[in-house]
């Protein structure tokens, strides 16, 4: 599924690129943000933050996570037709089945916070990939910290 998500992401990027006619290419390179469609996944990633992080074996929201989710809630209020999937993920230092449940708990924690901030529950779905979709491929605490997350993506 992540392949599909990546596929969707690259499709968005292509559309954004195509929407800028070649004839209007400015002499100086435009800022990267100029090609981002407001309300798109790219916009969420670049200007809001698409993911929040958790401590080991925890699903409690840290202050940095709450700050990101606050921004996500505001963004979702602005783009009220956007529905999102929240995917919970874990690092590799747990067992597969338990991590499926832990990822579910993390996704639920993020969704519950967004709901409390006014995002309609009907606009959100959650999914857990356990430890099966690591963002970082290393086996270091730095990689694990990146992989303990809940990632919001526009559906």
């Amino acid at each position: 599924m992540n392949i599909k998500i990546l596929g969707a992401l690259s499709a968005v990027a292509l559309l954004a690129a195509c929407s800028t006619p070649a004839t209007t290419t400015p002499a100086a390179p435009a800022p990267v943000t100029s090609s981002i469609v407001p309300g798109s996944q790219e916009d969420l990633v670049a200007n809001v933050g698409d993911r929040v992080f958790y401590d080991f074996n925890k699903s409690g929201l840290r202050d940095d996570a709450k700050a990101t989710l606050d921004k996500q809630a505001a963004w979702l209020a602005k783009y009220a037709t956007n529905n999102v999937q929240i995917a919970g993920n874990c690092d590799e230092r747990g067992t597969e089945e338990y991590n499926l449940a832990l990822g579910n708990r993390r996704a639920n924690a993020a969704a519950a916070y967004l709901k409390a901030k006014g995002v309609a529950a009907a606009r959100m779905t959650t999914i857990s990939y356990g430890k099966d979709r690591p963002t970082a491929q290393g086996s270091t605490e730095q990689a694990w910290a990146q992989n303990r997350n809940a990632i919001t993506s526009v559906r």
Partner: protein
């Protein structure tokens, strides 16, 4: 050191065991007792005597099976090779090198010349012959001899389709194992597992199946969707597993004969960690419930779910005791993840794991005497595979590693398979691997289980019938 269980030993069930083979699927195998040949002198029997402790593998000679023509003899050579490899891999037999044989070539029929076999150090000898019949059929006859007392322990002939020859070899190895060790073998079995390819951040995972000796590998799903945690039905016809089909992670049943999959149950949340009940009539699994998960039992006839736990915590990885009366599962209801046991109808659960660390993936031995588990701390310290008694006593660690996980028992409860991951050496995941491993329940005889790709989530099938 080899631990030999205190089971009864006898020259029993020769015919009964063979008769059961009539039902072998998918390709029928017909077995008949081969006429007894010879009887003989005294000496130490290769058959395990419960009163005689054994600390060495049984030396056994498995010369090529003979045949009346070239193709039959070639098949006889290959069958002997599979039998020998099965027995040697168990760690409980020592295969006598064919170079040490005094009598060259196959020993086809009749009473062997024991004088030729005694000096090789073998205590047991396998002889036999192969005959390719018309219509793609093959007849394989074999005899198992006790060399020192010079007696025939077993004589059986099988008729089957030629393409089924590997299975015949495994069945013969199981007969030899059972006759000499006094407990059922596990060679006529298969392993279902998850085959993994591609980089770690976008792995392609497929359901795969193979014989226990890594032969006849077959992929069952095309990799379109992530799949996890396959488990065998007691009849070996069906597999329960988890699929992310259509982005909805749920438990499915895969029928091996038809290749068809069907969704199990109708739940709003994720369903995962399935296992069949010992009688095959139901499945227990975990069902996401808010931020936690509950153990739910599904009757396969009525498709009615029954919630067995509702703790608000993560209850996961349920597994029935072989008599179906109890369920072991993992839960973090007390804080850290630990193993609990409850009645099969739910109710009070008793914690049984009390060692250092978290305990996961409890799996009940088919013998009922042990629960295997994964133990870990969650940091950079090693994961471990171990066993304990169902009351939590007698914990023993069998294997350790950067990540070892997910034990599954061979149907005789003697061997465990699990998977072992190696640590990524850099940010691109180089050095990472995931492979299957088997180990005796004594912790002895650990060895890799070959697979064509990276592999995880092994589940051992019941013995063929």
């Amino acid at each position: 050191m080899i631990y030999i269980p205190n089971t009864s030993v006898g020259r029993r069930r020769l015919i009964a065991g063979a008769a059961g083979l009539l039902a072998a699927a998918p390709v029928p195998v017909f077995a008949e007792p081969a006429a007894p040949a010879g009887a003989g002198g005294g000496g130490q029997s290769a058959v395990i005597d419960v009163d005689r402790a054994r600390s060495e593998p049984i030396p056994i000679a498995v010369p090529d099976l003979g045949g009346p023509d070239g193709p039959s003899a070639q098949l006889g050579h290959e069958i002997a090779g599979v039998i020998g490899a099965d027995l040697a891999r168990s760690g409980l037999f020592r295969l006598i090198d064919q170079a040490a044989f005094i009598q060259a070539g196959a020993v086809t029929s009749g009473v062997p010349n024991f004088a030729n076999w005694k000096p090789t150090g073998a205590q047991a000898l396998v002889t036999g012959s192969v005959q390719i019949l018309g219509g793609g059929q093959v007849r394989v006859e074999f005899r198992l001899w006790d060399i020192l007392p010079q007696t025939q322990i077993q004589g059986t002939a099988y008729t089957t389709t030629q393409g089924n020859w590997r299975r015949i070899a495994h069945i013969m190895a199981d007969v030899i194992y059972e006759r000499l060790l006094g407990e059922k073998g596990y060679f006529d079995t298969r392993v279902v597992y998850i085959s993994a390819t591609g980089p770690r951040d976008r792995r392609t995972k497929r359901l795969a199946i193979m014989d226990q000796d890594s032969e006849n590998n077959r992929l069952l799903t095309d990799g379109s969707w992530l799949v996890l945690t396959p488990r065998f039905h007691p009849t070996r016809d069906e597999i329960a597993f988890m699929s992310y089909a259509n982005n909805r992670p749920r438990v499915y049943l895969f029928n091996l004969a038809s290749g068809q999959q069907r969704l199990l149950g109708d739940f709003t949340g994720m369903t995962f960690a399935p296992r069949f009940s010992p009688d095959g009539s139901g499945v227990i699994m975990a069902v996401a419930n808010g931020g936690g998960s509950d153990i739910v039992s599904m009757d396969l006839a009525s498709h009615s779910p029954r919630r067995l736990t509702n703790s608000g915590s993560i209850d996961v990885s349920p597994c029935f005791s072989p008599d179906g009366s109890q369920i072991a599962f993992a839960s973090d209801r007390g804080g850290d993840q630990q193993i609990y046991v409850m009645g099969s109808g739910g109710g009070d659960a008793k914690r049984i794991s009390f060692g250092n660390g978290k305990y996961a993936t409890p799996v009940w031995s088919p013998r009922g005497d042990l629960i295997a588990f994964t133990r870990y701390a969650g940091d950079t310290s090693n994961f471990a595979i171990g066993v304990m008694h169902p009351d939590g006593s007698g914990e023993r660690i069998l294997s350790e590693g950067w990540l070892v996980e997910g034990p599954t028992f061979a149907p005789n409860g003697r061997v465990l398979m699990f998977w072992r991951e190696t640590r990524s050496q850099d940010s691109r995941g180089r050095g990472f691997s995931s492979r299957l491993v088997s180990v005796d329940i004594t912790g002895f005889n650990e060895r890799p289980v070959e697979t064509p790709t990276d592999a995880s989530d092994p589940a051992w099938s019941p013995l063929g019938t």
